[in-house]
């Protein structure tokens, strides 16, 4: 039991992202309302973004900006330790992923509007009933 607890505490960021992801997935599968499903989808995507952000983190590191890099007295002979700076690459990747998820959300919302205009409902069971009637 203590081993498990230690495992959870040591890697809590992964546990958090997995829990968030499962909440999102559950909403996408189990919810009846299309907007709730969309919210679930957004939680699902955000969980992955958080995962990426957390893998760039290092203990006691700072933002990846080198002081006096563009001038100053000893800009060129300053020694740079990679361990002092967090890894910026996953964060940069996530900028793109955020753009993608915003675009997907936008398209999905537009589709939901179209469905509502056509059927006057966003509940999935009612939609299914309407479709089988036609």
């Amino acid at each position: 039991m203590e081993d498990l607890l230690a495992l959870i505490v040591a890697k809590y960021n992964y546990w958090l992202y997995v829990i968030l992801m499962m909440i999102g997935l559950y909403a996408m599968i189990a919810k009846n309302n299309l907007i709730k499903k969309l919210v679930g989808m957004n939680i699902f995507q955000t969980a992955i973004i958080l995962f990426y952000i957390s893998i760039g983190y290092k203990q006691d590191a700072t933002i990846p900006i080198i002081q006096n890099a563009h001038g100053g007295q000893d800009a060129h002979n300053a020694v740079i330790h990679a361990a002092d700076y967090i890894n910026p690459l996953p964060h940069v990747l996530m900028l793109t992923a955020i753009v993608v998820s915003v675009a997907t959300f936008g398209v999905a919302m537009a589709l939901a509007v179209r469905i509502y205009q056509r059927y006057q409902t966003l509940e999935e069971d009612e939609l299914r009933m309407r479709l089988s009637e036609e």
Binding site: L25, Q45, F51, Y52, I55, L89, T104
Partner: protein, 496 residues
């Protein structure tokens, strides 16, 4: 000019921008812009293919940044072939689309061509890129555009089919993204070649195993491998015909390409077939996919829906061939990417012609079609023979390689599934032919001899010519399949 690899992808992108802007001024301008953009892209793809065949893999550095920092387009024989397939199908479909877009969605033709070009850009980018994260972004470009396209189609069911496609598509892409994240954690790189160099030292790592499984599940969802296929039939059959004709042959095939690329170039044969022990399970899954796709196709009452289930079945062929784990199987899978793209394209062109005249293609509506649209039906019959696998059409040759590969690996269940599904396809298509041969009921005068001969009402010439050409290309591809295997596929597999 050394910039052809970039031009392949960049021209459709710029053309999309121009077509979108031009549509504001004059809706009719966007069609010629799209045509010119794709023509330039096709020319570049042809140049690249010739260069790769004569002098080997091209490494193109985007903006001059060297990998692993920069994004690299690495184009070898496999890429170059798939690029050529994608861009030529996109180009010829555009020629055939002019009339059907005019008929189906003429109030939004400008947006149709813009999204069409963006979709092609995404597919070409997915094929050309040598960077794992770039691949994710381009997959999402492809998916986003196809969500929009599906919603442009059937006014009643299109948006709902599209929204279900969004949900499943997002799950697939997110799994792939997560897999890339794990891969990055362990290797610190996103460049495919670089990752492949680092991986051999990490074969025992469970992180890599997780990464591999997540990437594969993501790609399988995107390519609609049974049982993850549920989104495909609705999404493809409710989209506009002009779009169905391109998404059906290309989207799934490009995803199969991505799977093969990940298997061969990134993770490597050694890892997949020696360290991991899952190939047998995947071949069983593919066997199920082949059988399930064929059986479900048999149950359909609408021609478009029926064909979408045949896609599900064909995906099983390619996944199974790639996972059998010998050279014959892989050759069959790669050859089938080409052949299946052509066959599906030809089938949907024929369906497009029917939809143009008949509006709906429920099987009942097809009565008397041989008399009414003889040329379309001739193409359709030829394509059906190719799908069933009658020599000398190309469908026969890739199936032959797949079956040989299955026997060599002892995967008899997969070979059996191939044969059974071919038989089911034969039943399926002959059922359609039978309906098409029936003359429409006469009005009950009892003078059957006096009924005037059925008037020929064919689709517009542009659609007919493209449909005829593509159907004939099935025979050409069949006759030259030996050349294709010897100059493209075998040299590619030997290099790995």
């Amino acid at each position: 000019m050394d910039n052809y690899p970039a031009l392949i992808v960049v021209t459709p992108l710029l053309a999309a921008l121009l077509a979108g802007l031009a549509a504001w001024i004059e809706e009719r301008l966007s069609y010629p812009i799209a045509l010119i953009g794709l023509a330039i892209s096709m020319f570049s793809a042809f140049k690249v293919l010739m260069q790769v065949i004569s002098s080997g893999t091209i490494h193109y550095r985007m903006a001059g940044w060297a990998p692993p920092m920069g994004i690299e387009y690495s184009i070898d024989l496999l890429n170059a072939m798939v690029l050529m397939i994608v861009v030529s199908i996109a180009f010829f479909n555009l020629i055939a689309s002019y009339k059907s877009v005019d008929q189906e969605i003429n109030d939004r033709a400008g947006s149709f061509y813009t999204i069409y070009l963006l979709f092609v850009t995404g597919l070409l980018g997915v094929t050309a890129t040598g960077d794992l994260f770039n691949l994710y972004v381009l997959i999402e470009i492809t998916s986003l555009t196809s969500y929009a396209m599906v919603a442009l189609g059937d006014k009643d069911r299109g948006p709902l089919a599209s929204l279900n496609y969004v949900f499943i598509g997002v799950i697939g892409a997110s799994f792939y993204l997560l897999g890339v994240g794990y891969l990055y954690m362990q290797t610190g790189s996103l460049n495919m070649a670089d990752v492949a160099n680092i991986l051999p030292g990490l074969h025992g790592s469970s992180t890599i195993l997780t990464a591999f499984i997540l990437c594969m599940i993501g790609i399988w969802i995107k390519m609609a491998l049974f049982p993850m296929h549920v989104w495909l039939p609705n999404a493809y059959s409710y989209s506009p015909v002009a779009f169905a004709r391109i998404v059906a042959p290309l989207m799934t095939k490009v995803m199969v390409y991505v799977m093969i690329r990940l298997m061969i170039t990134v993770f490597g044969y050694d890892y997949i077939f020696e360290t991991l022990n899952i190939a047998d399970a995947v071949v069983w899954l593919a066997t199920l996919a082949v059988l399930a796709g064929a059986v479900m196709a048999l149950a359909q009452k609408n021609l478009k829906k029926m064909l979408t289930y045949i896609i599900v079945c064909e995906i099983g062929y390619m996944v199974g061939g790639a996972w059998i784990g010998n050279q014959l199987g892989m050759t069959g899978a790669i050859l089938h990417i080409l052949n299946d793209a052509l066959m599906t394209f030809a089938l949907f062109l024929a369906v497009g012609n029917m939809v143009y005249k008949l509006k709906t293609v429920d099987l009942i509506d097809l009565k008397g079609l041989f008399g009414k649209m003889p040329w379309t039906m001739a193409g359709f019959v030829l394509t059906a023979f190719s799908i069933i696998g009658v020599p000398p059409t190309c469908g026969f040759f890739s199936k032959w390689y797949l079956i040989l590969g299955a026997f060599e690996a002892g995967a008899y269940h997969f070979a059996a599934a191939l044969v059974i599904s071919s038989l089911i396809c034969a039943v399926l298509f002959f059922k359609v032919f039978e309906i098409c041969f029936f003359e429409p009921m006469s009005d009950g005068h009892g003078h059957a001899d006096l009924t005037p001969p059925v008037k020929i009402e064919e689709a517009p010439l542009s659609m007919l010519i493209v449909s005829g050409l593509v159907s004939l290309s099935l025979i050409v591809a069949g006759l030259y399949s030996g050349t294709i295997v010897n100059t493209v596929i075998l040299p590619f597999l030997k290099l790995q």
